[in-house]
């Protein structure tokens, strides 16, 4: 997911922390809709944080930059949370503190390699949107899998009484195991990236 500009921080972080940023989302991504909403919030927060960063970075003194990154990500996460709580109050209540938490960690994890490089507005925005879209797709897919297997429904539509759901998948243990299996699957698909990921 990283760009060609392999900076010190991106090498340091590797792929796994990028994936791990969205891990808390597994606590609430138990349905397709939850996954979609939390993924969309992460995407919006990443794009907004990246936009803020590009606009004011040059005016931030060097000693304040670490603090500024954190503050940008928090502001973006707050705004994403407010937007969701107005548009979808019920889903927002179900997601609870995970909505700002995931939006914040995703936005912040998306920012590190912007620290060392000169970044143009369009470049960083496009990169943030691509990464955010990956989170969105992954969280929606995980939400759908857990909803189908754990509750026998998809986006709230029941698959019929004959389907026997495996409730464990909708609980925390199922989320952790599913995350492990997905990671193993990703490694199988992208064997070349394994070494980079293990450096986390």
């Amino acid at each position: 997911m990283h760009s060609e500009q392999g900076t010190a921080s991106s090498k340091r972080y590797g792929l796994i922390p990028l994936m791990l940023a969205a891990l808390p989302a597994l606590a609430v991504a138990v349905s397709g809709l939850n996954g979609l909403v939390i993924g969309a919030a992460a995407l919006a927060a990443m794009a907004l944080a990246s936009l803020l960063l590009s606009l004011v970075w040059k005016f931030v003194p060097a000693w304040m930059r670490g603090f500024a990154l954190v503050l940008f990500a928090a502001t973006a996460a707050s705004m994403a949370q407010m937007a969701v709580s107005v548009a979808l109050p019920r889903v927002s209540a179900a997601l609870g503190l995970y909505l700002p938490l995931v939006a914040f960690t995703c936005a912040l994890t998306g920012l590190p390699d912007a620290y060392d490089v000169d970044h143009e507005l369009e470049d960083s925005l496009v990169r943030a949107v691509i990464r955010g879209a990956a989170y969105l797709a992954a969280l929606t897919a995980i939400g759908c899998v857990r909803e189908v297997l754990g509750a026998g429904a998809i986006f709230g539509i029941s698959l019929g009484a004959s389907f026997q759901p495996m409730r464990m998948l909708a609980l925390a243990p199922g989320g952790l195991m599913l995350a492990g299996l997905i990671l193993a699957l990703l490694r199988a698909i992208q064997p070349k990236r394994r070494k980079e990921g293990e450096g986390a």
Partner: protein
Amino acid sequence: MIDGAKVLALVFGCLLTDNFVFSRFFAERSALAENKLSAAARIGAAVAVIAAAAAIVSSALYFFVLSPLKLTYLGTVTAVLSVAGAYYLAERFLKVKELLRFDHPTALHALIAVDSVLVGAALLGAQAENFLYGALTGIFGALGFLLAVVLMAGVRERIALSDVPEGLKGLPISLISAGLIALALIGFSGFGG
């Protein structure tokens, strides 16, 4: 003002049934990716101290400043600022930078990016019934987090001696093991209220 049964339920909940790692999915690097028991315990302890301090500060700010002034929409930013404050205090008095082995110029940001337990604890502290329960949630949640970190490090040491399939080595098997521990902890449901 303090309900003993409620506090006991909170302790059990934070340590076992609502554990930060196994149930709330807060922790990342320290719980799942650090290899040795000693290193994991050291990093886990440092992170737990900062998390508890962040939760106490965040809870205090939420209940004594934001709520009376009707500024609760600033909750997320305040929680993050509490983490930053707790980190700087810990850095100053406990020399956590060496403990955590961060040499990145933006150590605070690196720490938050890899361990969402800090912001998670701070947000959770502000969601409690009142300041006291918020602070207790932070303290016992951090203890539960430390328990999980040590437990997972022990499990990983045993896994290192086993023949793990190639594709599952490293983080995937850690996650699956954490899932199995989480499954065992469901047995305590009801203790935590």
